[in-house]
């Protein structure tokens, strides 16, 4: 702890002895001050930042998804090809069985 004792006692004593008295405040200063106090604006706490953080996170995820979707396209195309192949095969089989019934009736 630093010492508050003056190490130039003569000078300090002279200053204290002859310092001017502080003028009294205006009678209405306190009232004026209290009347002009604006309402407090609460500081941004960590808790209040959560919606902002969540929004940023969601946006980042959405952007990441946009980047990754093209990478999935070949797989989607392959799936579509398989589906088309299945449909065509099924149609072919179906039409092969259906043809005799629909073209010519039995004698």
């Amino acid at each position: 702890m630093t010492t508050p004792l003056p190490d130039d006692p003569q000078l300090v004593s002279f200053l204290r002895q002859h310092q001017s008295p502080v003028p009294a405040p205006a009678l209405d200063l306190e009232a004026r001050l209290l009347a002009t106090l604006p309402p407090h604006v609460a500081p941004r706490s960590a808790g209040r930042r959560w919606p902002f953080v969540l929004a940023i996170g969601a946006a980042a995820l959405w952007g990441l998804g946009q980047v990754l979707i093209p990478a999935r396209q070949p797989e989607t195309l392959r799936l579509a090809t398989v589906e088309t192949h299945l449909e065509e095969s099924w149609s072919h089989v179906f039409s092969a069985h259906a043809e005799p019934w629909t073209t010519e009736p039995l004698p």
Binding site: T2, P6, D8, L15, V22
Partner: protein, 192 residues
């Protein structure tokens, strides 16, 4: 901590500063009134010695308005006293820049003529004037350290926290301020 212990010494009354600050944050102006009454005298004295009587009420009001606005950002309420002094010194520095030191000195001397009218104590008035002029002729940084340390008994470590400077700088500014004051008094015919 030294600063917090000094603040505790300075404000032993109940409720303590931290409790009052919490209430102020809830919009309780009566708690702020208690804080104002607790500290306004010291703030006023510091501002008077730094800036003189001109605009003193306005400066005090400015300090406490800044305090009220800044309370939501005060992270260490136990160091309220240090923080308050820092605001007061900032207000004084702003005022010094705005008003100009020379013009203020002239107004101070004129105002002092109204304050001291006792013809029986002319010698004391002369020394008061001398002390005022001696302090005012110091550079602002030295003046602030000298006032806080020699006139308001703030310890060097707390002054370092208030001014955000090393303790060694406080000591060197104090040394230079005292030397300059001694020289000023000697030039005026007063040898201590």
């Amino acid at each position: 901590m030294v600063a917090s212990s000094r603040v505790a010494e300075a404000s032993p009354t109940f409720p303590d500063d931290t409790a009052l600050i919490q209430r102020c944050l809830g919009g309780d102006t009566q708690s702020f009134q208690v804080l104002y009454r607790r500290y306004q005298s010291r703030v006023r004295g510091t501002l008077y010695r730094l800036c003189g009587p001109t605009h003193l009420d306005d400066l005090v009001q400015d300090v406490f308005l800044r305090v009220w606005r800044g309370l939501p950002r005060l992270r260490q309420p136990q160091l309220f006293g240090v923080w308050l002094y820092r605001i007061a010194l900032n207000v004084a520095a702003d005022h010094r820049h705005q008003a100009g030191l020379q013009r203020d000195q002239q107004r101070t001397l004129a105002a002092q003529g109204h304050h001291h009218t006792d013809p029986l104590d002319l010698n004391h008035c002369h020394y008061q004037d001398l002390v005022e002029r001696g302090i005012r002729q110091l550079p602002f940084e030295q003046r602030a350290v000298l006032i806080l340390h020699d006139l308001e008994d703030r310890p060097q470590k707390e002054i370092a926290e208030i001014l955000k400077i090393p303790v060694g700088t406080v000591k060197s500014r104090l040394f230079r301020a005292r030397a300059a004051l001694r020289q000023f008094f000697a030039d005026e015919g007063v040898h201590l």
